[in-house]
């Protein structure tokens, strides 16, 4: 990644995904997290090269964690579920989504991170491990236990 024009292209290519990732991880200031991530990407642009996506993922995960710690609270920020009006025919879908997201909100942060990176971004285990700064074995455990916990919250027998 070199000049400012290239940075602008990268920004527009990835910003929506970065904001949404931060929101799904529980940031109540997802745009601010994204802005911080891109500032750090810009500062590190000479050494990031072609690993922009992996770098951004890791920064977002770390930044959301840091902000949670700073708030010094065990409560996880609720996701911003819907920002558009919900039509009546979508009420049933909304209720289903709401139930699942409410259940995600109850999970410990690391399980939630693993589930979001796996089931929203579809990242392979190694890339999840990199984004979360943990080992692949840890990711497997977090995914396995996270899905079990989610199923339990949703009242599903597994």
């Amino acid at each position: 990644m070199g000049d400012d024009a290239e940075f602008a292209v990268l920004f527009h290519a990835h910003v929506a995904r970065v904001v949404r990732l931060a929101a799904l991880l529980g940031a109540d200031d997802a745009e601010d997290v994204a802005q911080e991530a891109f500032c750090r990407l810009y500062a590190a642009r000479e050494r990031v090269d072609d690993r922009v996506v992996a770098y951004l993922n890791r920064i977002v995960v770390n930044e959301v964690r840091s902000r949670h710690r700073r708030r010094a609270t065990a409560k996880r920020a609720p996701l911003h579920l819907v920002e558009h009006p919900v039509s009546i025919e979508h009420v049933q879908d909304y209720a289903e989504r709401n139930a699942v997201i409410d259940a995600v909100n109850t999970l410990p942060a690391r399980k939630r991170e693993a589930l979001v990176l796996r089931y929203w971004l579809d990242l392979p285990l190694a890339e999840i491990a990199e984004a979360m700064s943990v080992r692949v074995g840890t990711v497997k455990s977090l995914l396995s236990r996270g899905i079990d916990a989610l199923a339990n919250e949703l009242g599903e027998g597994r």
Binding site: H12, A23, S66, H80, Y119, G137, V139, K140
Partner: protein, 361 residues
């Protein structure tokens, strides 16, 4: 619908519902970038504020001389060595308690080729330390440098990690506890597969993210080692058969729970040099590493290594009662491997060292 599918749908729909004004955000981000001192101040503030643990002290600012650590290996140090210029802002300590100032371990090593340890620590002082099994840490920033001391539950110092601020906290060097001669592994029986000083623990159950087992899980090796931040850990290696081949996988007890981690998966009738033995970045000595050679077959095989000093290392046979095949495995000092010999079905195949093996596979 499965839990996984419900989750996938809910995450996708929630994400899609989130509108993003990319142009406005770009303008705001450029404004922030163009304020040259802002990022560092912001991040310093982050670290000051980030610790949910106690702020334990404020030291006097000033000029620190370069310490004596650079370049040497295992140089004993007294007290907290600090380098770089700038005020000590605040010291952050994990809530579990303080870390000793000085090492008590007999052997130490200074490393600069620590690979991803710096990445692990970049997210914050408590993140990397906990990940590698440290129970305590103290993080002391000094302007654009920082010293992080990490230790065990009893406060014994296991590593001093020197970081420099280059946008992220980037690792400069690490001094940590190690075994004799800079080895990360115990020296006793280091080339013998099996138990080393304790019964091998029962294997964990493979999760759905591991290859499905079609056989019993058989232990291969268990031993102590010093991990990347000088904490003593155990690494256990197991094998089991799966569809058309064998899985060799590791378990590390530093993790909160026991699950299979790094693994090698391979089919029959090939020589494999595919799994870092002690730790992903572990060392046998400061000069070399383990060669962990394996061969899986449903027929009788002889696998051996000739060392440069003329000795021969024969593979150990590993199999479960319900296995279809046998895993042949051996350990050798990587730098000493001269020739790899496989005898199978009346034929002998020879590789002239590990490089030849890798080039032919």
């Amino acid at each position: 619908m499965s839990t996984e599918d419900r989750l996938r749908d809910a995450l996708r729909e929630t994400a899609d519902a989130r509108a993003v004004d990319a142009d406005a955000m770009y303008t705001a981000t450029r404004d922030q970038i163009d304020r040259p001192t802002e990022p560092r101040r912001r991040r310093t503030a982050l670290y000051v504020a980030a610790s949910a643990a106690a702020v334990v002290g404020i030291a006097v600012g000033g000029l620190w001389s370069a310490d004596q650590l650079g370049g040497g290996q295992g140089t004993p140090q007294n007290g907290e060595q600090v380098w770089g210029t700038g005020p000590v802002v605040q010291t952050h300590r994990a809530k579990e308690g303080a870390v000793d100032d000085t090492f008590t371990c007999d052997h130490r090593i200074m490393l600069k080729d620590f690979l991803d340890v710096g990445e692990q620590l970049g997210g914050g002082p408590d993140m990397g330390a906990g990940h590698f099994g440290a129970k305590r840490y103290e993080f002391v920033p000094h302007g654009d440098t920082a010293l992080m001391r990490v230790g065990k539950a009893d406060g014994a110092l296991t590593a001093k990690i020197h970081l420099v601020d280059r946008g992220d906290w980037v690792l400069d060097r690490i001094e940590r506890c190690t075994g004799p001669e800079g080895s990360d592994a115990d020296m006793l029986g280091r080339f013998q597969l099996g138990a080393h000083g304790r019964p091998i623990p029962n294997p964990p159950r493979p999760t759905k993210y591991d290859p499905e087992t079609s056989s019993s899980v058989v232990p291969i090796d268990d031993r102590r080692y010093y991990n990347r931040i000088g904490v003593v850990d155990h690494r256990t290696i197991y094998a089991y058969e799966s569809d058309g081949g064998v899985i060799v996988s590791t378990v590390e007890t530093e993790l909160d729970y026991r699950e299979f981690g790094d693994s090698a998966t391979f089919g029959p009738d090939q020589v494999v040099d595919g799994l870092n033995f002690v730790d992903e970045y572990g060392r046998l000595t400061s000069e070399g590493d383990f060669a962990f050679l394996m061969y899986y077959s449903t027929e009788p095989v002889e696998l051996s290594v000739k060392l440069k000093d003329g000795r021969t290392v024969d593979a150990k046979e590993i199999r479960g009662d319900d296995w279809d095949g046998t895993l042949y495995a051996l350990l050798a000092p990587r730098e000493q491997v001269d020739r790899i010999v496989v005898k199978h079905g009346g034929e002998t195949k020879t590789y002239e060292g590990l490089r030849d093996l890798h080039e032919r596979h």
